[in-house]
Point group: C2
Chain length 99, copies 2
DNA sequence: CCGCTATATCGTCATTCGACGATTGCCGAA
DNA sequence: TTCGGCAATCGTCGAATGACGATATAGCGG
C-alpha cells in the first residue's frame, strides 16, 4: 500500500515559500525597509524615487508585496498610501523563527 | 554631484534577498525542516525519498541551499551527509527579525 | 473644464527557474 | 577488479520573473 510517500503538500511549507519569494528581490526588501522607517507615515510615489527603477517596475514589485500580504495600499486621492501589514510580517517572522 | 540618488546596492538587502530566494520554494523549505528534525543526524538519499522529485531535481535544490549557506554536506563514503548550517540559518533569522 | 500627477496595466523581450532523463564519477562490497 | 548504489552535472524544455515603454485611468488644483 502506501501508493506513495504521501505528497503531503504541507501548507506551512507552501506559505513560507510564498512569503520568502516575495522577499526574494533586493528592491522588495528595500521597499519593506523604507516603509518600516516611516512607520506611521506612508509613502506614495516616493518609493519610485528611492528605488532606481521605472515606475511600472516598481508598481509590479508593490503588487507582489501586496499579493503576499506584506503591505497594503490605501487610496488617498490621486495617490496611494502604502504601509506595512504587521500581520503578514509577523507571520513571516514566526515561520522563519520556527526553522 | 550626486548624479543620482546613489544606487546604494545596500549589501544587507541583497543578502536577505539571496537568503529568501533560497527559501522561496516549498521543496527547499521542506528539506530544511527535515534536517531540523534530525538535528544531529544527517541524511543522504533519504531526502530524495522524502520529497517526491527526481534525484537530479533534489540535487539541484540541495545545491541552491548549500550555495546560500543554509546547509552543508559532508562526504561520507559513497554518500553525502547533509546538515543545517546554524550560522547561515541564524543570519537569516536575524535579518528577517530586523524587518 | 483642462491638464497634471500618480498609478495601474498591457505587451514584449531576455533571463532565470524548476523539473526531468541521461550520463559520469565515486567509493565500498562482493 | 568488477558491480551496484549514491550523488553531481549536463542538456533541454516550458513556465515564471523582471524590466521597460507605452497606454489607460482617476482625482486635484487651477
Amino acid at each position: 500500500m502506501s501508493r506513495r510517500a504521501a505528497p503531503r503538500p504541507d501548507a506551512a511549507d507552501e506559505e513560507l515559500a510564498a512569503l520568502a519569494k516575495a522577499l526574494a528581490h533586493p528592491a522588495r526588501v528595500r521597499v519593506l525597509r523604507l516603509l518600516a522607517r516611516r512607520g506611521d507615515g506612508c509613502i506614495g510615489c516616493d518609493i519610485v524615487a528611492d528605488l532606481e527603477l521605472a515606475q511600472s517596475t516598481v508598481s509590479e514589485h508593490l503588487r507582489v508585496l501586496k499579493a503576499a500580504g506584506l503591505i497594503e495600499g490605501a487610496v488617498d486621492g490621486p495617490r496611494v498610501c502604502y504601509r506595512l501589514r504587521r500581520a503578514g510580517l509577523a507571520r513571516l517572522k514566526g515561520l522563519v523563527a520556527a526553522l
